[in-house]
Amino acid sequence: MRSGYYKETIVEHINLTDSTLQRAWIGIGLLLVIAAPFHFEFYGLSLITLMMITAIGAMGLNVLTGWTGLISLGQTAFMVLGAYAYAISTESWGWPPLLGFVLAGIVPAIASVIVGVPSLRLTGLYLAITTLASAFIVNHLVLEFDGLTNGSSGIFVNRPVIFGYAFDTDAKFYYLTAGFGILTILACLNLRRSRIGRALIAIRDNDNAARVMGIDLRAYKLYAFVASSFIVGISGALYGIFLSFVTVDGFPFLLAIEALAILIVGGMGSIAGAILGAVFLVGLPEVTSFVFSWMGSSAQSLLSTSAHEIKGLLYGLIIILFLRLQPHGLMGLWQDARRTWTLWPLKY
């Protein structure tokens, strides 16, 4: 059990960790990440890889939706742009993958400026609609410019070779994804504790007060949107490599809903929540099929003919139930539990 900590310097306040115990936990977490390929194989490893890619995308959306309080229904558009930017630059033009990843962030970022400038002048509602629109427009453009994108035929993507090192096995690709995941976590944590992160939270909590404090609402909403799209684009590129094949079909609209559900389940605005939510929702189909197999053969046969619908139903229910009953998501649950534990046996 932990009690209060005293801090003597300001640096201690700014640091991301504030105790040896916390550092130990992080160490254990890192070890687990490194050890995963030794424990899991083929399927399990690809599931964890998918969780990581999803978590990266969710952290990206969190910058926009969790921190700044703006809804995007066009996550798929920015994932598609990221995936194509990577696929075209590395596979068609033969650029080095590292440059491909940079492009996978920059192209969606530029697109987000185009979508964001007109819509961010208005209340948050409009961004939800324009991003929804852009999801359809981007798909149309990809199919229209088939000289560049290979249209509906898609582009095969190889596992990347970076500085002569080939990430060609599942385990190596997993490490690459984990590396991106850790970079994203660090970047998000740093952003969160900077003036930028505080400004975004301020806009979400009280935009008038934020403006009086000197925060340019339009500019910062745009920053949030651009940063979010950048990260989402990277996750799109990783997803493309994961699928080894990039087409617009690989990015169905349900992904955008899934991303929002992840944030709600994990806990809006929390980086750990975004990761937790991604693990939870990507693992959900596994859990449901397990639960259904427990419930006997009739339930199992329902699952075998209606899995897709049941999944959609579950997403919707999870979104509504969490918003109603546990608006702070799994992170909120965790904090409640911790508070109870710290204060036990006398909470009040």
């Binding site: 050890a35 390929p37 083929f42 998918l50 509906s152 080894s244 087409t247 079909d249 899995a307 897709h308």
Partner: protein, 384 residues
């Protein structure tokens, strides 16, 4: 889990992951097969029917004692036509369930995306849905494609129509994806060989529901032969729109939509529309024989869901089973692949015999041109 195994796996990291022993999925009493297809959502119409065909083939051989005393069991994974789920499901089938062979890789886009994993693992895989040329050109050792490419099917249909309606004005409406593109290529090939006068050509976005402006352009251009390159809903919308505008071009559709549901939804206006397929119509003698077989092994509800995809699923699985039978004593991937390559073509009656060769991974099935009969909600070969 045990870490000794983990360390052993680590030592193998340099090797391609997912390498499995060639005879995985085979026990003393059982052989496991796997497949991925859309079982749910609208594309389930295709996947469920296909799945029935595969199960029919397994039930038939199991009833006769299985292969070398082993019963065949199928694990079907649903991907809802979502590519990432296809990949995940394949990894599960190969890596966790450790099936011996795959009977389907879902739709054409999904199969394309699956190729790297399939090739890497070496597992024998049949591809009876959406046979696109990149799946078999160049041939991959362990991927066996059954059926006919959309391109060739369209090519034959167009040649037939060109001969039947010489000098007619053609209109072509295609979907803006790989399916539409393949059909377009087929028409191009036919145009090189026959005189086809195309007066109107357009692509529509997938999911489009309102075809009023397209059909108006068809009417305006005086189209006499219309290639309705939609799948299901789109063809229904196009034919109904033609009916509304009072135009009666010769309408040709393609096999993914050659199911009774389409005719039912269009109504009487569907009478006489052309179709093309490499699978026998249900109303034909072979089709009726197939239904008879289905009634023997499937429930009544299931028989009601039988369509052309059941036949392709059944036939391609039969080819796989015959190859495995030839390897009963040495049930390995290498042997099965070899038998698939060298076995004489397997004839199931509902489509051309299925066979492959040393450098051929495509069992090329001849196509038949058909016309719809609204009364019986079915298609019949032309000239019968």
């Amino acid at each position: 889990m045990n870490y000794v195994k983990g360390l052993a796996a680590a030592a193998l990291l340099a090797l391609p992951a997912g390498m499995a022993t060639a005879d995985q999925g085979v026990t003393d009493t059982e052989i496991l097969l796997g497949e991925v297809e859309p079982l749910t959502g609208p594309p389930g119409l295709l996947g469920v029917a296909h799945n029935l065909g595969v199960r029919l083939a397994l039930a038939e051989v199991n009833a006769k004692g299985g292969i070398g005393g082993r019963q065949l069991r199928l694990i079907a994974e649903d991907d809802g036509y979502v590519t990432s789920r296809t990949i995940q499901s394949l990894r599960k089938l190969i890596g966790v369930d450790k099936v011996f062979a795959l009977t389907s890789l879902s739709g054409s886009g999904q199969a394309l995306a699956s190729m790297p994993i399939i090739k890497q693992s070496g597992i024998p895989a049949m591809v009876p849905i959406g046979p696109l040329p990149p799946l078999y050109e160049p041939p991959s050792d362990n991927i066996f494609v059954v059926g006919q490419s959309y391109t060739e099917g369209m090519h034959q249909l167009a040649l037939y129509l060109a001969k039947e309606y010489p000098g007619a004005k053609w209109g072509i409406i295609l979907q803006d994806d790989d399916y539409g593109k393949s059909l377009g290529e087929g028409i191009e090939q036919a145009r090189e060989e026959a005189d086809i006068n195309v007066v109107f050509e357009t692509e529509y976005a997938r999911g489009q529901k309102d075809f009023a402006s397209e059909m108006l352009r068809v009417k305006d251009a005086g189209v006499e032969v219309l290639i309705a390159g939609g799948i299901i809903s789109e063809n229904i919308a196009m034919v109904k729109e033609a009916e509304k505008l009072g135009i009666t071009p010769v309408i040709a559709t393609f096999w993914p939509g050659r199911v009774p549901e389409v005719l039912k939804a269009i109504g009487p206006a569907s009478d006489g529309i052309y179709g093309v397929d490499y699978v026998a119509p249900i109303q034909s003698e072979a089709g009726q024989a197939f239904l008879e077989l289905a009634r023997k092994y499937l429930t009544e509800d299931e028989v009601a869901r039988v369509n052309r995809y059941t036949m392709t699923g059944y036939s391609s699985t039969r080819a796989l089973i015959e190859a495995m039978k030839g390897c009963a004593d040495d049930l390995t991937w290498a042997c099965t692949i070899e038998k698939l390559e060298t076995n004489p073509p397997i004839d199931t009656g509902v489509m051309d015999p299925i066979g492959f060769g040393p450098d051929n991974r495509f069992s090329n099935s001849g196509v038949t041109i058909m016309r719809a009969d609204y009364e019986t909600l079915s298609f019949a070969p032309v000239g019968e």
